[in-house]
Amino acid sequence: MRTRRIILTAVTLVLGIVGLAPMIVMFARSLMGDGGFSLEGYRKLLTTERSWQLLGNSLELALLTALLSTLVGLPLGLLLGKTDLPLRRVFVMLFTLPLVIPPYIIAVSWANVLGPQGLAAGLWGEPTARVIGGLLFGLPGCVLVLVSTFMPAILLATLTFVRTVNPGLEEAARLSARPLRVLWDITMPLIRPGVLLAATLVFLLALGELGVPMFLRYNVFPVESFAQFSAFYNFGAATAAAVPLAVLTFVVLGVEWFVLREKSQALRPVPAGGATMVVQLGRRCVCLFGLVSVLCALVVVAPMLSLLVQAGSLGAYLRALHAVRDSLLHSLLLAAIGATGLTVLGFFVGYLIHTRALPIWRAVDAGTVLLFALPSTVIGMGLIVLWNRPSTNFIYATPLMILLGYLAQYTALTGRVTVAGLALVPPSMEEAAASAGAGWIRRLGLIVLPLLKHALLSGWLIAYIFCLRDTGISMLVYPPGYDTLAVRIFTLMANGAPDLIAAACVLMIATTVLPLVGVALVVRTQGRRPWQ
């Protein structure tokens, strides 16, 4: 027990230094002005009309994104998870694609389709394209991009949670009700907490999103915070601009905890033999298949295709590869190391939360989720304030800064995956090993880790994707000569050739998707579905 306590305390300390300390230092810095204590940044925040406008914009964007993502993702999830619609697996994979791609690349691809110089201009003429382009660069465009990016989160949550519903309940209801009625009256109420959780996550992700509103010129708090730091070098105003987001995040997480605390479903193993209820679509199959195909073509295929068309020739890819080669290698290396570090840290954090081994487990849980929901630029600024000094230059001047940012922001992901995985491990197994005299380390190696290997692999992949697509942290803290691919694409956007940028985006997508395809193939050979 002593070893467990020491190691988990050490992990908590690491998390505190990596994640909490930059936030504290940054907050303290925001209270300084003209050499003394000052609340000027906060006074301005509360008294200017612009702040309230930004708050309104941020909330509007996050709410619309969460609402529309749920309205599309939930029925789609039911359709793909509970019916006999053809090509369900293909659809799931296609719809999931935008989730693993950096959102701003989706924005670039939509601009290729609907922008003033885009494909729409060629199809419908410049005046029409100008009107559509006007909508793209603003709230409607941001909502479109973020819904197509985050809707898969609702879809995947629905797919996951419908498989946790006790088939006996559905079968019993089928005795006296039609399948659709069973879905509505039995399945939906049971999966509602899980879907609500996913919708909350989408709300928070949209609230903290920087790249898309920045590219599509829609003013929200993360953009304001970034501009206050990068363009005006005003730490006070930058931090103050981040505070409403932090408060909102706290409130939303608090509400989520209050509403769902008694309703959260424990994940349980998927029943063998496909025992869950499957709704036969019958005559409606063709119509629904067509509808899903059109949605897929519009939301996924069209923007991806636009990048391929824009990139055009093989020459563009070769030039792009030459231009971004070093950045690509940096990204791969940092994402791999970051994902490994996050898997290790997330495992111990998840273990702490699951077993409640230390009294501060709830604070650790809330802290990691809060760090995940905060705008990445805020974390980047905090890291700069904390580590930018001669005595810590061995960290500040190296790519370790980027890794620290990854650990600070994304531990919640691997932690939550570990918690979900541990929920499937009967506690009696570890208890039996303890009774037999096995120490904690031995129990982890002998019992817990082997049983968690799939969850840890999933966690690693999720962490890899998030590290690879990170822009906010990397853009602020990358050391000289060590930019990542996401940053390189952003800097190329200033006067870079459109075909080169499109080709670089395609390379980015390939880098993200290829490991997933590899894992999906391996998983498929084991008879499991990739989203499991």
Binding site: R50, P116, E126, R130, M214, F215, R217, F226, A227, F229, S230, A231, F232, Y233, L333, I337, T340, G341, V344, I384, N388, R389, P390, N393, F394, I395, Y396, A397, T398, P399, L400, L403, I441, R442, G445, L446, L449, P450, M475, Y478, P479, P480, G481, Y482, D483, V487, R488, F490, T491, L492, M493, A494, N495, G496, A497
Partner: protein, 352 residues
């Protein structure tokens, strides 16, 4: 059987522990490797505000010609090209950069005022007009952009002066980049110095009365004019040349070239050597390289379409030689101070 199970479990636990140990060791080794990537290693560190697509080829040429490795940090459009300058300010007590390539001299002046710039008179700077370098040698200008009017070809009465923004005939027809950022701020500050505060404020008020559209960037202003949504815009010369090369129906007008007019505002790039940089010798070599006639020639021929400041350096049309343009007399140090002074006014004007 029981022994066999125990053995396999023991081996499994050993292999997992070994895997975890190996992974941790690998991560540790790579982290140690990454720690070695600090800017202490041989080379030169440069922070760049000029667009990466234009600046990177020059830096690659420097690497090839000198064998000195360049480690660069580039700015993004989204940081309004002030991100790396602010990074330099943040690193004042812990400098990482040796050289700063500013895309306009105002940022160089700010660094001078903050004690971040070091003095250096490069031999390559000989031949660059004195008004494009700091008198004390804290920065030196090279390859400039001009602030020009981009005008849609379909417009019959083409504006010849920036005062056209205040002309009632331009109501709803003109666009300008957000004056809180970049070269537009610098030009407005220069106008405050040239005209005096009252006249400049009246000009801003007239612009507002004329419903001038505020774009997010010079590039967006140029696109608005190219698509015919607006008649004209004040932009950087490279934005205008870029649209002309794309075949857009626009033309480029150097404003205020008449006898009693102030001339065109010129925005040179600037090289700054950083105080306390870790590679001063390599930094000076890089500064010399950037200020050379050859670099100016390359930047004039590239899509950056910049105006060489050395006399006699080739510049393809429509880039004009500096000696053929009537330029606004500008004290960039005064402009830098004025920019800070008028920032609250501009924020109010924009509604920020």
């Amino acid at each position: 059987m029981a022994e066999s199970n125990a053995l396999s479990q023991w081996l499994m636990s050993k292999s997992i522990i070994a895997t975890v140990t190996a992974a941790t060791g690998l991560v540790a080794a790579v982290i140690v490797g990454l720690l070695g990537c600090s800017s202490k290693q041989q080379g030169v560190v440069i922070y760049v505000s000029e667009d990466q697509v234009f600046s990177e080829p020059i830096l690659r040429d420097f690497e090839r010609d000198t064998g000195i490795r360049v480690m660069a940090v580039y700015d993004t459009e989204e940081a309004k090209s002030t991100g790396v300058m602010n990074r330099l300010l943040a690193e004042k007590n812990n400098p990482q950069a040796d050289v700063y390539w500013a895309n306009e001299p105002i940022r160089a002046e700010v660094l001078k005022q903050q004690g971040i710039a070091a003095t250096y008179r490069s031999p390559s700077a000989q031949g660059i007009p004195a008004n494009f370098e700091d008198q004390q040698g804290y920065w030196t200008g090279f390859s400039a952009r001009a602030r020009v009017l981009i005008v849609n070809q379909a417009i019959p009465d083409k504006p010849k002066s920036i005062t056209s923004y205040a002309n009632p005939a331009s109501n709803g027809r003109a666009v300008i980049a957000n004056p809180l950022f970049g070269t537009t701020t610098a030009e407005i500050a220069a106008l405050f110095i040239l005209w005096g505060d009252e006249k400049a404020k009246a000009f801003l008020a007239d612009m507002k009365r004329n419903n001038v559209k505020i774009a997010t960037s010079n590039g967006e202003s140029a696109d608005f004019v190219a698509s015919g949504q607006f008649a004209f815009a004040l932009v950087d010369s490279d934005d205008a040349v870029n649209r002309m090369k794309q075949g857009k129906p626009v033309e480029l007008i150097y404003p205020d070239q008449g006898d009693n007019e102030p001339g065109c505002f010129i925005v040179p790039n600037a090289v700054v050597l950083i105080n306390g940089g870790r590679h001063p010798e390599a930094g000076r070599k890089l500064a010399d390289y950037l200020l050379s006639r050859e670099t100016e020639r390359k930047l004039a021929l590239s899509d950056a379409a910049q105006i060489p400041l050395h006399e006699g350096v080739d510049a393809p049309a429509p880039v004009r030689k500096i000696e053929t343009i009537k330029t606004m007399k500008t004290d960039y140090a005064l402009v830098a101070r004025k920019m800070q002074e008028i920032e609250p006014l501009l924020k109010q004007w924009v509604g920020y």
